[in-house]
């Protein structure tokens, strides 16, 4: 039948209703089945895509379920107002404040390093560097982002803290400053690559307009490109903050794992993530209050990153510029 196609007459007679009815058999009829196959494939692919939703539901479900058990033992007020977290001791206090303080201190130290350095790197790569430099530096930054966090933990404990002790002799071997700085170095690539992408997306004619008015490169970069790319730069910062809050191993290795309600980065401390690691290493029985507590603080961690992401979403909407 297929051979017919090549021998079609130049003028194709249009089949009328009668001719259609008289046509022997629809030669595509045997392919009806393929619609069933197509549908089956679409269902399978949809199920795979929907697994992302299932994972989210599972995460929220498990965190809420175990946290509910935790809060049936521990009043929410104690959890929020007590300033001690001594769940591993005989006299138990369930105040999340020390863990929150630890998380905020290391995150802040990290951001104080990563945001300026990451932003300047991004501006330099996008507005000043030649194509060659960019081609070499970007992969190196990517490699920096690919190094396992446990190795960064070793770096913080064995190299960074001793180096800091050279300048600050009274700094203890476990402190939050060293890990905080290392977290900062870890998130520089995230901040710089997202911010750079945002700046490079700014149309060239805007830069040309600025140069035509006699502005220098730096003036163009700071007064034209950066304002135009603000929404993307904010997104880069938010990504950095999420990474810093959720970073685990660096702090678990080098900050001392002692919940400590302080805002001084030179002291040892524990973050939410470090506490989860500490409990998990102890191999606690399923269903104990300590077991439930890691889900409760995990819920706090998720709420923190979620609210930052939400903030970022709103900020992106607020600063969005369309060209």
């Amino acid at each position: 039948m297929r051979a017919d196609v090549t021998e079609l007459p130049v003028s194709i007679p249009i089949p009328t209703g009668a001719a259609l009815a008289a046509a022997p058999v629809n030669r595509f009829a045997h392919r009806r089945l393929r619609h069933v196959g197509e549908l089956a494939i679409e269902v399978v692919l949809f199920a795979a895509a929907f697994s992302a939703v299932a994972v989210t539901v599972a995460i929220v479900g498990i965190l809420v379920y175990e946290s509910a058990a935790f809060f049936s033992h521990v009043p929410l007020v104690d959890f929020l107002t007590d300033t001690q977290w001594t769940i591993m001791f005989s006299e138990k206090h369930y105040g999340v404040a020390p863990l929150l303080a630890g998380t905020l201190v290391t995150t802040t130290v990290g951001l104080l390093l990563a945001i300026p350095v990451g932003t300047v790197t991004a501006i330099y790569l996008s507005e000043f560097a030649g194509a060659r430099t960019r081609e070499i530096v970007k992969p190196v930054l990517e490699l920096l982002a690919g190094i396992p966090t446990v190795v960064y933990g070793y770096f913080a404990l064995v190299m960074v803290t001793p180096a800091l002790q050279f300048f600050m002799p009274e700094l203890p071997g476990f402190n939050m400053l060293g890990p905080g700085l290392v977290i900062g170095i870890m998130i520089i690539p995230y901040v710089s690559s997202v911010a750079e992408d945002a700046m490079r997306a700014v149309p060239v004619h805007m830069r040309e307009g600025s140069y035509a008015m006699g502005a220098t490169r730096l003036q163009t970069a700071l007064r034209v490109v950066v304002p135009a790319a603000t929404s993307g730069i904010v997104a880069a910062y938010i990504l950095g903050i999420s990474r810093a809050i959720g970073e685990t191993m660096v702090v678990a290795v080098a900050a001392g794992q002692q919940p400590n309600f302080t805002w001084d980065p030179r002291e040892p401390g524990a973050t939410i993530t470090a506490f989860i690691v500490q409990v998990a290493l102890g191999d606690l029985p399923h269903g104990s209050i300590e077991y439930q507590s890691i889900f409760a603080v995990g819920l706090v961690l998720v709420l923190m990153t979620l609210s930052f992401n939400l903030l970022g979403h709103l900020a992106r909407k607020r600063f969005r510029e369309a060209y």
Binding site: A52, L63, Y124, L144, V150, G246, T273, I294, L301
Partner: protein, 306 residues
């Protein structure tokens, strides 16, 4: 008039000076990252070189630092990566294909997209908590290779989905239209054109995802991997009927980053040397994988001309 020209000249000179200052500042910021990488690698090699010999790769962990090796950790990492790859690649590619080629613009698609983006931002240790509650206890897989592999698969799923979508988006629509014009069904179009042409991009994403998974420590600690494993899991192929065994899926295990973390948290200096040596092996593994991904991406970018 001359004073006015001089004023403008001064202004221009000042602007150019600021440009130069910023270039120096930019190079210094670049160096923060690049130098860190160099110092980190040099320090690790310096600390760990003494232990990096053949014995280190062929021995089990030991109470005596000088006798300890990473055999069980390397085997554990390999098996966990196997499960991760077998789960995450089909799931991630299928999800990416659905979102790019099948999904209609409606609220359901939007929910899925929001979820994929959010999952990419969830801290890795939260996946560990999910795995502890779901895989270890609810599904009763125990603290096993299977639980760890599935956990890391969920962790890198967003990476693979996003990479697949980007690779597919780069294919011009003329390819799709050409296939459809010749009577291909949607699946035939996807199978014969979309997937083959996006393989390079997908592979890049898969390698980056696996490189991340192999270095992940926190979620594996959370599900309770042991650190002292002086045996290997049951081999998957046996000499007796039925020849294939899946016992290894349920086996307790350790992986490279956990082994390193364990050595690091011991007080004795000799174990710190082991930690550094394990760190060198781990960093080389991830650098090689990430380097391969970068190389692959450049190669495909150069080669494809639509």
């Amino acid at each position: 008039m001359t004073t006015e020209t001089a004023r403008i000249r001064r202004l221009v000179a000042r602007g150019k000076r600021f440009d130069k200052v910023f270039v120096i500042l930019g190079l210094m910021s670049l160096m923060v990252g690049v130098l860190t990488l160099a110092v980190l690698l040099a320090g690790l090699v310096h600390d760990g070189a003494a232990r990096l010999d053949w014995d280190f790769f062929t021995r089990f962990p030991s109470r005596r630092a000088g006798n300890a090796g990473i055999l069980s950790a390397i085997v554990g990492s390999t098996l966990v990566m196997l499960i991760t790859a077998l789960t995450a690649i089909p799931l991630g590619v299928a999800a990416g294909v659905y979102l790019e080629e099948y999904a209609r613009r409606n609220w359901l698609t939007e929910i899925i997209e929001i979820n994929v983006n959010n999952l990419a931002g969830v801290p890795s240790i939260i996946y560990g908590l999910l795995a502890l509650g779901l895989f270890v206890y609810a599904l009763d897989f125990g603290q096993s290779i299977l639980s760890a592999g599935l956990t890391l698969a969920l962790l890198i799923l967003p990476v693979i989905i996003v990479a697949t979508r980007e690779a597919i988006r780069a294919i011009p629509s003329s390819i799709r239209e050409g296939a459809c014009a010749l009577g291909a069904t949607r699946w035939q179009m996807v199978r014969d054109h979309i997937i083959p042409y996006s393989t390079g991009g997908i592979l890049t994403g898969v390698i980056i995802g696996l490189a991340r998974a192999i270095g992940e420590t926190a979620p594996i600690i959370t599900i309770g991997a042991l650190t002292f494993i002086a045996f290997l899991p049951d081999p998957p192929l046996g000499a007796e009927f039925p020849f294939v065994s899946f016992e290894w899926l349920k086996s307790p295990f350790t992986v490279m980053p956990i082994q390193m973390f364990n050595w690091m948290s011991r007080p004795q200096a000799a174990f710190q040397v082991n930690a550094a040596a394990a760190g060198v092996v781990l960093v080389v593994m991830t650098l090689v994988m990430n380097g391969a991904a970068i190389w692959l991406r450049m190669r495909y970018r150069k080669r494809i001309k639509w």
